[in-house]
Assembly symmetry: C2
Homo-oligomer: 249 residues x 2
DNA sequence: GAAAATGCTGTTATTCTAACACTAACTTCC
DNA sequence: GGAAGTTAGTGTTAGAATAACAGCATTTTC
């Protein structure tokens, strides 16, 4: 320390990768920047942390300003601090990801942004984002992919009532793997994580599926005691991959 | 943004949880603080990040100043930023953990500390450390425990030549579980991670064990392709635990 | 050469995982 | 109202992985 005040010339921000799931697609909430730097590019929602504000509080604030939601899943992932990552000065940023149910709110663009939109995650990762947000998005997506194998966080992304097929599609989007329907159902049902609501889907042009809710108590139990969702993609696919690797060598 | 300069009054530091393994014991490197605040208490080595220095660079610098080591395992874990965590101002800290081979260097106390010592991790977690370093240590220990199940990082902590029993003791210390000797050997040998050196231990008062080296190429392969060291403790112990939980309810 | 200490090794029962195909229920269209 | 279209739902089996378990081998020390 020694009172070296030139250290106290930096700032820190939080950036929030807000994931949603809709229509079989994993999505991320992006803001089109209305001002320089990077005007016109899409960026992750974020803000400087206030001088007397905790980091998590700042992340929740950003989330709430944008979505109106308070109690959602939020997790710190990584801090990015390359010297030149921000053109206006030394600003490091603490990246969070959160999981929301898209149906829980409607988007209301905040003051500093022209536009807020859900973007397909794959497409967003391939397009150019402001600052180092491509790196941040990728890191957070990897963290989510990893987390979903260890905790049943998938449920944070689904509406309160869902079908087994919807759940499977979510896991397939998160794990980037094709799963076997029967094995998936057997596994997920054997965890007693789901409550059968004895209700059926309505308004679908085919046989309606049963609706399920997830069991919060059991969820917290699994959270505490560890959880392993080691779903492997079908062997067909694995073989293809291995072959591709062999060829690449 | 908008040039609000009162944001630029904060600083950030890195703190490094340096783990070592010796004598069957997981250890952490701590510094006794020679100056206020928290004078006399043990603390994690750390420093403010220089204005034009990347975060990882700062973490490596702290590590090198203390140990002289350059190429060691280092990983960012979490950022701690409670408003009041530092008595002298708003300082958030980015926590890293690193894994070193204790035999690779000798400790040379740096200028700002009276004393540097290896501490047993369990004891250190129970004693009072400076700042929020108890929380940081615990978080990093959990991260290590988790990491070791996914990557073969254990080898970073062992000397170049080691016996299977030493390796098993390391895993037991990290996973806090007692492992079956035969199953452990079968599993670890089947990964072809180890190279049999055709050498024997010397100077032990009993039958000497074979020495092994680990296979770097194979290690990097496993790092890239995923790895699962799902060693479970013996059922006896699990049963005991479950019983204890039942009683506790 | 006996005692003490740790090294080393293989088999079996059980559990978990992966592969796989057909019938059921509902809607729409003719 | 029946045929076609669409998704829901369901069980068995072979193979792989895991967990449990005990006794002889090699070295030092006394």
């Amino acid at each position: 320390m020694n009172g070296e005040n030139n250290f106290f010339k930096s700032a820190f921000s939080v950036d929030n990768v807000i994931f949603g799931f809709d229509d079989g697609d994993l999505k991320v909430l992006l803001i089109k920047r209305g001002a320089a730097p990077f005007q016109g590019l899409w960026a992750l929602p974020g803000d400087l942390v206030y001088p007397n504000e905790d980091l998590d509080t700042a992340a929740y604030r950003v989330l709430e300003e944008l979505t109106g939601l308070k109690k959602v899943y939020l997790e710190q992932v990584h801090t990015f601090g390359a010297v030149d990552r921000h053109p206006l000065g030394r600003v490091i940023t603490i990246a969070y990801f959160s999981l929301v149910k898209i149906s829980d709110f409607t988007l209301t663009p905040s003051s500093f942004a022209q536009n807020v939109e859900w973007h397909n995650v794959d497409k967003a990762m391939k397009s150019e984002l402001a600052f180092d947000h491509n790196t941040i998005l990728e890191t957070c997506f990897n963290a989510l992919t990893h987390r979903v194998r260890i905790r049943p966080v998938g449920f944070e992304l689904l509406p309160p009532k869902f079908t087994l097929t919807e759940l499977q599609h979510l896991y397939e989007a998160l794990l980037r793997a094709e799963l076997d329907k029967r094995n998936f159902r057997k596994k997920i049902l054997s965890m007693s994580l789901l409550i059968d609501l004895d209700e059926l889907q309505e308004g679908v042009p085919h046989r309606p599926a049963k609706l399920y809710q997830f069991n919060k108590d059991r969820y917290h139990q699994l959270e505490a005691h560890g959880f392993s969702f080691e779903v492997k993609e079908s062997k067909k696919k694995e073989k293809k991959k291995r072959l591709a690797e062999l060829i690449a060598q």
